[in-house]
Symmetry: C3
Subunit: 352 residues, 3 copies
């Protein structure tokens, strides 16, 4: 993919996002995405830019932009005025999904895949490599480990003994995969992620804490993505599991024996303590703490900065600490703001 992304016509963009093209005659070739903000500050490459405008709100700053993009992809935008009205447009029902599709089509970032094994990569003789594997300088593949076809192991990334890395995985720089960890296909681990460190388990004894060795592993299913410096601990006896397509953001902690379902989103700095269960399709906000042994039902949503201390039923939205149904949480916030009134009323009544 040398030479960057392809140049696309408005029609090709419309087809790619499943949208309706309103005008495209004579339009310039399009080769990158730009933000409304960047356009409103003016920059020379505007003419070949596609801009996604999800709603009227995002449209406003574009009206005064000194330069105009080559194509507008419009969500819930009523009409265009002034110079914008002359631009070719593609109408879509799901602008965010359109942005996602276009971000892949117009991605000019360098691809890490070289299909080569660096001379300074360390591959244990008892490891096995699939076809087209890229091992960067200073990467490490331990005894018995296997790397699937087309996977990439970045500079300084380490794959422990007997670990199994599926096909098409990307392990960014300085990732650590411990021994006995299993990754499905197309798993992405961002830099500094640590998969399979020991769970935090000790038994009390007269001579101090005695470590419970963590003999399980970790299984990350297909299409899981793990953020930078996030840690997923290995299980005590069985594997800690993250289900297919679940995405976990940066600096999260997933404790030992946790089982997370498929299609979840876990935002940054969230901690899920040991043996918790998270169903499918759960969305957890940032900086959330989930207590050990708690179950969060499928389809539940947890607001940012909550602390979940007991089971959350499927499909419910919970918030606060201790977390409770969102309606109750909102009511409790309301009551807390009335506390001054209550205090004064009580004082008044006690006096008279």
């Amino acid at each position: 993919m040398a030479g960057g992304p392809p140049e696309l016509s408005p029609q090709e963009i419309a087809d790619a996002v499943g949208g309706t093209l309103s005008w495209g005659e004579g339009a310039r070739a399009l080769d990158h995405l730009a933000s409304v903000e960047r356009l409103s500050r003016g920059y020379p490459e505007a003419g070949s830019a596609v801009v996604v405008v999800p709603s009227e709100q995002e449209l406003a700053p574009l009206a005064g932009a000194p330069v105009l993009p080559g194509l507008l992809v419009l969500g819930a935008v009523a009409g265009l005025e002034g110079p914008l009205a002359a631009l070719p447009t593609v109408r879509v029902g799901e602008p965010r999904l359109a942005l996602a599709r276009l971000s892949a089509l117009l991605d000019a970032r360098p691809r890490p895949f070289t299909g080569e094994v660096s001379a300074t990569a360390h591959v244990h003789p008892a490891a096995s490599l699939g076809s087209g594997v890229s091992l960067e300088a200073g990467s490490y593949v331990g005894p018995g480990a296997s790397i699937g076809d087309g996977s990439y192991v970045g500079p300084g990334a380490s794959v422990g003994a007997n670990a199994v890395i599926g096909a098409g995985c990307v392990l960014h720089a300085n990732v650590t995969v411990y021994d006995g960890v299993t990754l499905g296909a197309r798993v992405v681990l961002h830099a500094g992620a640590v998969i399979g460190a020991d769970g935090f388990g000790y038994a009390a004894s007269p001579a101090g804490a005695v470590k419970i060795r963590q003999l399980g592993g970790v299984t990350l299913a297909d299409d899981v993505e793990i953020g930078a410096n996030t840690a997923v601990d290995r299980g005590t006896l069985d594997d800690t599991v993250v289900g297919a397509r679940t995405k976990i953001d940066n600096l999260c902690q997933v404790g030992h024996n946790v089982i997370i379902g498929s299609d979840c989103l876990v935002a940054g700095m969230t901690g899920i303590a040991g043996s918790a269960r998270v169903g499918d399709g759960v969305i957890i906000g940032g900086a959330v703490a989930v207590s050990d042994h708690v179950t969060i039902g499928s389809g539940a949503r947890i607001a940012g900065r909550s602390g979940v201390t007991k089971d959350v039923p499927p499909g419910e939205t919970w918030a606060g600490f201790p977390a409770r149904p969102h309606r109750q949480y909102a009511r409790s916030l309301y009551l807390l703001e009335r506390l001054e009134d209550v205090w004064r009323a009580v004082k008044r009544m006690e006096r008279g």
Copy 2:
């Protein structure tokens, strides 16, 4: 230890955990630990498995297991029925401690120690290595650093100038030990841990913040274990200190000049700000924040997700934010749940 853990007889298991064997005639050799959950799903190696059952509660799922283990290690379990009654059992008073002991005896995970220095490890000519040191590919040992007998430095792990690593330490992959850090014996640092980065200290000046260089170091005493991606900052002038046998979980932050005593447990995502003091035998839950210059007395316990803003007396259990004695915290939670009643009562009284 090639070939995995030894095969043990029920009597050897009983001896190892100091328990009472009730029946062992003809029992098969035992070579691994299994979970009740794994057995309840059925798996072929069941016959050579030891299962630890701490209490009646954990016993229930085993009653219907399609396959049976080779030995039950029982805590507070009254009696066994059905097929379970025919199994050899070992009775113990402390099942968690038994699990810890057995996890070491039956640990089949690959041992990292090779006793070899990889050809791609970088050892500065002015560094010194003890006997039987294992340095993995891409590890780094700086000038003046010393590595104690039998210690292991994993792939990509870095030991800074003049750092002192005791005997029998394990530095997992991509660990960073800065210059001037001192580790006792048998210290374990999990992947991505950073020991000795600069404390966060700046002085205001008209030209902006002026860095206070952090000239102290870090001392981790014998048998300390530090979790993945946890950071322990160096002191400003003196060392930041973590006492013997203290265990700190993943993604924790220990600020500069902090002094933590021995035999503490600090759960994941906890931050201890600069110059705080933590006594001996303190247990701190996950996602706790401890303010700078606060003292937590020996034997205290801090509930998960608390924010400690003032001194905690020895032996007390505190919770909440701002943290207070647990009884007070529980009372305040109770009162908060009564807020709706209070609000309605006040409204009612004001009307009538």
Copy 3:
């Protein structure tokens, strides 16, 4: 700078900190900083030590110290008694700034800069190195990346394709800089920091989450310092930006599209969610969570462990969760402590 820091006279110290020397005749040469605490425990090198005493409070333990330092740098300290009265002193108005200046003058830590490219550093043929660049063993510089004059890339640190590292930067061990990241001059990245990992952006689709590729980069301006294991995500289309002289502590998360101004201080374990804006000179305490798309005005201060969910006006101090002006927060804490009284009063009034 072999042989450690220079030996300085009391007059030279006074000049360096802009203070008033009261007595210096016959004083010994000074070569290091010591803490009051270390002196109060006694140690042999005391005579060549400088001790900074910001206030009377810090003076007390020194009165009984078994050994005396060579020079006292005094802030708001009225007078000295006993043996301390015989010591040379330097009076300063800003003792913390004096400490910062002296910490640089008397810094005996080994300097990482070697000006050499290690034989095991990996430099892509299409990368460019300035003059006097130090590349440690196992470091990595990708295609198209450039490293400015005199910069240092530590063991196992990785600089991605097309990244631009300014002059005089320090990238400690195991740092990861992704492709397309730009660092100004004298930027310091502590070990394990990850700059430029993908922001957390997905679009919902019937087939599960579709990744929004993160095509922007990260810009860290001159003199930024980033703590250990902190992550700064790349922007979706434009750069995530951290302004000049801003310092971010360990284990922080800066989301995609965030723009932080200059001269800010962000304490450890703080998370700033996507697209938030932080003005200039903002101080954010530890363990704070800032919601996405929120704006914190210049000069604002956010208390530790707050959760900022809406815009904070410039210059204000906010606290709590949801964060509010500090005065309101303090009042709400007061009212919460009165809740027991309110409850009892309501009970009493209902009865009578």
